[in-house]
């Protein structure tokens, strides 16, 4: 029974932690932060926090939100999480128009470019599709249950995006795969034709993002547990370039701190013109910038924008209109937490474009708290507190827990040869055989009866 002991010890490493997420409205009118079950929205036009309302009749989020996404035109917003709820919001009134119950925990969510369909992925690798009846107009589908349209075989889908032209849906999983599937006009009949697989990552894929030259062809960027950012010709499934971020990070951080070697890429965010990619990495206090040349199809290291020591962003986002890169850090439940409030830390990088960032070595490139648009109001609404920057130890423990949690969820389990043999011996069918041995004559029952 020592085997069971081992397993319990492995499981009891702590509750699951979900990273805080940030999403900026594509037109820059609002910004949303999700931490745990809380969704915080700040209206940048009105300069005030938004109070969410719910018309859908469904319950509100009760567990960690795992994915948030604006639609391409910014009209809709979707949130999904561990409570198996997917909620769709209208961004003009910030009113929830739809609550969909998933069978499993949702891990990714996306809205099709024309806003007519919503897709969400669960932790078993199945992607579900719902028609947004409001946008279709007139013909309401009779039963509006989610329909499964495609599946990765029993693998957590970590990220899901629609291509800029809306023809493809890209899904990334923890089995190192990125799948590009044709998204047909009528996807309710199933999404069966696979365009390509982007294979090259040697560990889980944590994030994907499309990028394109203006009016030009589009490309796919991906980051993963193997500490690389890769550039893909996703139509043909060709790997164009790989950027190893591990070496650069190890130069910056003392080796003692990176003893655990978890330098997974947690999020990537390209600029609008596709010339620059911001990369968030576990253990890196700051954001790494990569130059992305879509003409020569090369990724190259540009610089690291270091921030205060305990600030390691968990999520990045930028909008099409304003040149701001929003970064956020936080986790769903804080260890040893006295207060019930969930804190996040928010930082903004202005001038998120290649030219100013490449040249300005001495200009402060991260906005101070006082320089943030709408100042304290915004910070209070999105962070939950103003002096969160002072609570260094809380932040540090949050990050440690996050790292472990992500590792546990996404990295493949490796068992030693002995461990596997041991497990085999304890298998149920073998136990049945043992029971069949007759106690009185030490023969099998068959032989002595």
């Amino acid at each position: 029974m020592e085997d069971a002991g081992i397993e319990e010890a492995e499981v009891s490493g702590g509750a699951e932690f979900a990273p805080a997420l940030v999403a900026a409205h594509p037109l820059g009118s609002s910004v949303a932060v999700a931490v745990g079950p809380e969704l915080r929205v700040f209206d940048l036009k009105a300069g005030s926090a938004v109070s969410l309302s719910d018309d859908s009749g469904g319950s509100s989020h009760s567990d960690a939100i795992r994915a948030i996404s604006f639609s391409a035109n910014g009209v809709l917003f979707a949130s999904a999480g561990d409570d198996k709820l997917v909620k769709v919001w209208k961004t003009d009134s910030w009113c929830c128009i739809r609550t969909i119950t998933s069978e499993k925990r949702a891990s990714a969510v996306a809205i099709s470019n024309d806003g007519t369909h919503l897709t969400f992925a669960d932790k078993f690798g199945v992607v579900w599709l719902v028609t947004m009846e409001e946008s279709v107009g007139g013909q309401k589908p009779t039963d509006n249950k989610p329909v499964s349209i495609l599946g990765h075989y029993c693998s957590i889908i970590t990220s899901m995006k629609f291509s800029p032209d809306g023809r493809y849906i890209a899904t990334a999983d923890r089995d190192f795969k990125i799948r590009i599937t044709l998204f047909p006009e009528r996807p309710l009949r199933g999404v069966h034709e696979i365009q390509s697989f982007c294979l090259g990552h040697t560990d889980f894929v944590s994030c994907i993002a499309f990028t394109c030259l203006s009016e030009g062809p589009s490309f796919l960027l991906s980051g993963g547990g193997d500490s690389t950012v890769r550039l893909w010709d996703y139509i043909n499934g060709c790997l164009l370039d790989t950027c190893q971020v591990r070496d650069k990070v190890e130069e910056l951080i003392e080796t003692s701190e990176t003893g655990d070697n978890n330098l997974a890429v947690t999020d990537i965010c390209p600029t609008n013109d596709g010339s620059l990619v911001a990369v968030a990495i576990q253990s890196l206090n700051g954001v790494m910038l990569l130059a992305c040349d879509l003409v020569t199809k090369k990724l190259s290291f540009l610089k690291v924008m270091t921030m205060e020591k305990s600030y390691i962003p968990t999520s990045l986002s930028s909008s099409f209109s304003a040149d701001l890169l929003w970064t956020v850090m936080g986790a769903s439940n804080m260890p040893n937490q006295a207060t019930s409030q969930l804190f996040t830390r928010l930082k903004i990088i202005p001038n998120f474009k290649k030219d100013p960032l490449a040249s300005s070595d001495h200009v402060p490139t991260v906005l101070e708290d006082s320089e943030v648009p709408h100042g304290e109001k915004l910070l209070l609404a999105l962070q939950g507190s103003l002096d969160i920057g002072k609570q260094e130890e809380v932040l540090a423990s949050v990050l440690a827990a996050l790292k472990v949690s992500m590792h546990k969820m996404l990295v493949k389990k490796h068992y030693s040869e002995e461990r596997r043999e041991q497990r085999k011996r304890g298998r149920n069918d073998k136990k049945i055989k043992k029971r069949n041995i007759c106690s009185s004559c030490d023969h099998r029952f068959v032989a002595c009866t």
Partner: protein, 348 residues
């Protein structure tokens, strides 16, 4: 389901002269008991029981009658029958390795014995795999699998590609049968159980050694084809895929472990060329219906007309070449085929 057929009569048909020892009696009783178990559990127990019986029988019989037996045995190809007969006794001139009769290590040109490679009939396709997986199809080293087709030092400009995949190849009966039928086509078996994969590997090596110039086009790889098909094959690479007698997974909870499903068919369609053919066969009616309905529903596959199926030489092999197929035939069981063609998507 054809559950109660076969087994009791097979037990009775075994030579009674051998049934005198108490051990033998125990074996018979066990086999009889097994007849009343659910089919998918029974398969494991009963087949290993009879296999052991066959092995003990072959140890006792003189070489000459072994030749006759081997030639009659339906589970072996003609090439293998010769191999078995020649393995221990009269063919000492060939390899000079006749001494290591019972050892697990197989000499060159000698067929492996199944009893050393017995494995549990089920394997969990959902678990994280611990064996090495190629990151992409470019990393699959074909020269290791097909040395004759990839001589060292030659550029791979016009290198042939694998065209057939036997998913869940088991002990490799179909591969051996197909190898001579399509001598210039590269084909690969994919199997999740490592011991069984080892057996097929040894079997192919033995066949190659004893039949120079033949069986160079078949190979086997240990993998979880439900998870890693795109890691092995490029888009539209395969012209035939085989799914023969897959694990039925009766419980609804376990249906997602079935090797044919709407979602997995997407991936099979991706690696198959337009016009390629997917062959499925099973002796479990419920699973047969499931596989047929999946293929019928899938927009990228269409049923092949009956006449065409009859003319296809491969179809006969489905039920005759594999070990599982022979077992069903022996027991007088029914089989359910579904043979479909990969088509391009019809846009309306």
């Amino acid at each position: 389901m054809a559950q109660t057929t076969g087994l009791p009569s097979r037990v009775a048909a075994q030579p009674s002269s051998l049934a005198s020892s108490p051990k033998r009696a125990a074996r018979l009783a066990r086999a009889a008991r097994a007849a009343f178990r659910p089919r998918h559990r029974r398969r494991l127990v009963s087949s290993s029981g009879t296999r052991a019986a066959a092995a003990s029988r072959s140890r006792e019989t003189p070489p000459l009658s072994r030749l006759a037996e081997a030639c009659l045995s339906p589970s072996l190809s003609p090439d293998e029958a010769v191999l078995i007969a020649g393995g221990d006794g009269p063919a000492m001139t060939r390899g000079g390795d006749g001494a290591n009769g019972g050892g697990q290590k197989q000499g060159a040109g000698k067929l492996p014995r199944k009893r050393f490679y017995r494995a549990r009939a089920h394997s969990n396709p959902l678990s994280d795999s611990h064996f090495p997986i190629p990151i992409s199809p470019d990393e699959v080293d074909l020269s290791q699998h097909y040395p004759r087709y990839f001589p060292a030092g030659e550029g791979d400009a016009a290198a042939p590609r694998i065209r057939f995949a036997d998913v869940g190849c088991g002990f490799g009966g179909l591969l051996v049968g197909l190898s001579t039928l399509f001598p210039d086509t590269l084909m690969i078996g994919m199997e999740l159980r490592d011991k069984v994969t080892e057996y097929v590997k040894e079997r192919i090596l033995a066949l190659r050694a004893s039949n120079p110039g033949k069986y160079d086009n078949i190979s086997v790889v240990r993998t979880n084809s439900m998870k890693y098909i795109p890691n092995y094959f490029r888009k539209a690479q395969l012209s035939k895929m085989f799914f023969l007698f897959p694990d039925p997974h009766f419980k609804e909870k376990n249906h997602r472990r079935r090797v044919i499903s709407m979602q997995l068919l997407d991936e099979y369609a991706y690696v198959m060329e337009v016009g390629g053919i997917i062959y499925t066969i099973t002796d479990v009616e419920e699973l047969g219906e499931w596989m047929r309905s999946c293929l019928e529903k899938h927009p990228l596959f269409e049923a092949i007309p009956e006449e065409e199926i009859k003319a296809d030489p491969v179809v006969k092999l489905l039920s005759t070449a594999t070990e599982e197929g022979q077992k069903v035939a022996r027991n007088g069981g029914q089989t359910f085929q579904a043979i479909f063609r990969r088509i391009s998507l019809q846009e309306e």
